[in-house]
Amino acid sequence: MAHVEANLGASPLEGSMPLHRLAHARAGDKGDRLNLALFAYDPRHYETLVEQVTEERVLTLFAHRGASGVRRYLMPSLSGMNLVIDDVLQGGVNGALNLDGHGKTLSYLLLGMSVTLKGE
């Protein structure tokens, strides 16, 4: 936490970077449905997430997993959003052959997405 705040203060973030630099996330599963809760570290970056972490881009990111749809619920009071992705868990915790049937690791697939931050 301290490290990130130091980064934000010392050298302003700019240009293209993984979402991991700007946001933190947690995955949850129910059946074959995954939710990814995503939050900006700095509320000033929330609008960038809203502009760039779109339903379309998330669907593309999870297309190889068979994702059939993405719904995005914005939570401005939390500087975050909830992404709900259907049919992405290959059968879910009791049906998948994947090592990670819950899809718990997939928060970091999202955080690998590239975003671009304009200079401040």
Binding site: R26, K30, G31, G66, R71, G95, L97, D100, L106
Partner: protein
């Protein structure tokens, strides 16, 4: 007066010493309190039913004794109610364990409440069922049915507390209902006081996964540092009569409670934040606020509630055939190419050594695995990494065990017939339980609580032993 909710466990398999500092803090504060154990997920309920098929005396939380024994005596002496869904598929079995532990405590016994009504397997055929929207896989026939359990709300748990239960044992209840129940019991909240019920449910939602709100499952070195995870403190939620709540943790423990740790847990497993469905209330988080008010103290406010849904979620478990896994390692120069060659060989072998309906998947751990599709899209497109230590994993599924054995044996045979330098084969098979979710009408579910009669139970067990030994 503030009511304290302490988390003792957040899943089956959680740390069994976690409750000790929580209970010590609850006692130190001397306020009315309850200790909650949430140990039942979709996976664990299915596993419990599977276990009970093989051994009718099992099927409750396997770590129950280890979880309860360090804290049961203290809780009984200090009036801290314990509620847990550790009954899993066999609440009677769990009641018996609790009764035995309580008999050995200083108090010499405890009043144990038992929740009924979640198991609707016998009536499944006659109920009006709706398939849950987020699943559309094909389901096995009725002959494969193992179990059907409704997610009950807090009402029967409150009933158990009203009967004087000091330990409440349930099977399937909605996880946060374990936390809501002692609040309703203590504050006397009405069942249509939606905002308070919603706040109580969210206190449960925040606490039900144990350390996930207090620094567990959060650390990411360099970005999100968390101190002392080896001794992370499990959460305590302070709740007021008006439904305001503060998340904290015991003094002197590791971990941390911050705006960020609380936010991550707030939306965990939530879909539409304006309509989070629970059995007792539909929670609306659109105006929720999360605010650090002190060190390891975070207030959550703005939670609103709407009338409870007319249907309750039900998890149905079916026989799911067999699953098998086998792995082999390749390391050092050209390791990735050797692992990839091994994968190719296996794919080819399975085309003529296994039936076409065998479902299979190959991962190369270290290159592409958990993010990948079953078809291995990423395995072929991921850039070669600088690593030189890979593990090829085969996972297969079939209705018959023999095909799962045959397929995984093909990986074992790579020892002599595969690429150079493969080693460390491990192989395992297990029965699978698959699950599906339905919605049943609330009015079709009959739920209630009883006190577990230890005398009667002992008599019954003694009779069963006599019958088993052939005497009458």
């Amino acid at each position: 007066m503030t009511f304290l909710l302490g988390s003792g466990a957040g899943f089956s398999g959680d740390r069994t010493d976690a409750a000790i500092p929580v209970v010590a803090e609850l006692i130190r504060r001397g306020q009315p309190a309850a200790l909650l154990f949430e140990t039942l997920g979709e996976r664990t309920l299915a596993a419990a039913h599977r276990t009970m098929r093989d051994d009718p005396a099992a099927g409750y939380e396997p770590l129950l004794e280890e979880l309860l024994s360090p804290v049961l005596d203290d809780c009984l002496r200090h009036g801290i109610a314990i509620l847990g869904n550790f009954g899993a598929a066999n609440p009677d079995g769990a009641c018996r364990v609790v009764a035995e532990l309580a008999a050995r405590s200083q108090r010499g016994g405890a009043s144990i409440g038992r929740i009924h009504g979640d198991d609707i397997r016998a009536r499944l055929g006659e109920l009006d069922l709706q398939r849950w929207e987020a699943e559309n896989r094909e389901l096995p026939g009725e002959e494969a049915l193992i179990s059907a359990n409704v997610y009950l709300g807090a009402a029967p748990l409150v009933e158990a507390l009203e009967l004087g239960a000091e330990v409440v044992v349930s099977g399937r209840v909605a996880d946060p209902a374990l936390f809501l129940a002692p609040l309703v019991h203590h504050f006397g909240w009405a069942w249509n006081d939606w905002d308070r019920l919603a706040a109580g449910m969210m206190a449960g939602h925040l606490g039900e996964c144990g350390a996930q709100v207090s620094g567990g499952y959060f650390a990411d070195p360099g970005c999100k540092e968390v101190p002392g995870l080896a001794r992370v403190g499990y959460p305590i939620i302070e709740v007021e009569e008006d439904g305001s709540l503060v998340v904290t943790k015991p003094a002197g423990t590791g971990g941390m409670v911050t705006e960020r740790t609380v936010k991550e847990q707030l939306l965990y497993e939530v879909h539409d934040p304006a309509n989070y469905l629970t059995p007792d209330v539909v929670v609306d988080l659109s105006a929720v606020r999360v605010e650090e008010i002190g060190r390891d103290r975070v207030a959550v406010s703005g939670i609103r509630g709407k009338p409870a849904p007319q249907r309750l979620k039900t998890t149905v478990c079916y026989e799911g055939g067999w699953q098998g896994e086998a792995e082999i390692s390749y390391a050092g120069p050209n390791a990735l190419a050797r692992a990839q060659l091994a994968a190719e060989i296996l794919r080819e072998r399975l085309t003529f050594r296994a039936p076409p309906e065998l479902r299979s998947r190959l991962d190369i751990v270290g290159h592409a695995s958990v993010f990948d599709s079953d078809a291995g899209d990423l395995q072929s497109t991921a850039p070669s990494s600088a690593g030189s230590d890979y593990r090829l994993r085969l996972a297969v599924e079939h209705a018959e065990r023999r095909w799962v054995e045959r397929a995984t044996q093909e990986l074992l045979a790579l020892y002599c017939a595969g690429p150079a330098g493969g080693g460390g084969v491990r192989r395992q098979f297990q029965r699978r339980v698959c699950t599906a979710s339905y919605l049943v009408k609330r009015s079709d579910v009959e739920t209630f609580a009883t006190l577990f009669d230890t005398t009667l139970f002992e008599t019954k067990m003694a009779n069963e032993r006599r019958v088993a030994h052939g005497t009458r």
